[in-house]
């Protein structure tokens, strides 16, 4: 069955530090993979998506993600976080329908 796992419920990093949020998926075929961000009171905003081709995907706000089939992973990275990046991040897998992970809440220390 299609599933998405985000192992970290909370992540805290200092402003200016690098960030990596983990995501593992389970899907029989080549997956469609997404990362969304949700700020308080806001709808989900798409950061980036992977369908095929280059396994390193660039997104908005300086985010990137790398698809690794051998590890069934699609981790989100940013080289230097800003205080405004504090939010909830959701990894999702698309197929017959979109399945979301439970999310990782990112906290930024000043």
């Amino acid at each position: 069955a299609q599933s998405v796992t985000q192992p970290d419920i909370h992540i805290t990093v200092s402003e200016g530090a690098s960030l990596e949020l983990r995501c593992n998926y389970s899907y029989g075929a080549t997956p469609y993979l997404f990362w969304y961000v949700q700020s308080p009171g806001q709808g989900l905003q798409l950061l980036l998506k992977y369908f095929s081709g280059d396994t390193l995907v660039q997104g908005i706000k300086g985010f990137e993600a790398e698809f690794k089939r051998s590890q069934s992973s699609f981790n989100l990275r940013k080289p230097s976080v800003h205080w405004s990046d504090a939010a909830e991040y959701f990894c999702a897998s698309g197929g017959d329908k979109i399945i979301f992970g439970k999310g990782t809440r990112l906290h930024i220390l000043p």
Partner: protein, 116 residues
């Protein structure tokens, strides 16, 4: 506006009341989705429309939940005889293409339903 809008943004209902939640998708978008997001959880799929046709309602938790999109644009999610476990944020999303889970979805801000 150019985005997906939802109304009301907040709804408080007494247990047993019926509620109706509205979604205005982006103009021209073929597909429309409803999700339920419980506190501390990711969104969970409820139902999917392609134009006015409801092609997948496998996520609706009970027969108290009903969704419609009669003219292929605005959609309404109705919950009858609300229960406390229905308390959640209900998210609507739309996408341009006639696909169920592969096209980019654009989300509205959600309706937070609290059942007392």
């Amino acid at each position: 506006g150019a985005g997906v809008s939802q109304s009301p943004r907040y709804k408080v209902a007494k247990r047993g009341q019926d509620v109706a939640l509205r979604c205005d998708p982006i103009s021209g978008h073929v597909s429309l989705f409803w999700y339920q997001q419980a506190l501390g959880q990711g969104p969970e799929f409820l139902t999917y429309f392609q134009n006015e046709a409801q092609l997948d309602k496998s996520g609706l938790p009970s027969d108290r939940f009903f969704a419609e999109r009669p003219e292929g644009s605005v959609s309404t999610l109705k919950i009858q005889r609300t229960q406390q476990e229905d308390s959640a944020v209900y998210l609507c999303a739309s996408s341009l293409e006639a696909t169920s889970g592969t096209d980019t979805q654009y989300f509205g801000p959600g309706t937070r339903l609290t059942v007392l």
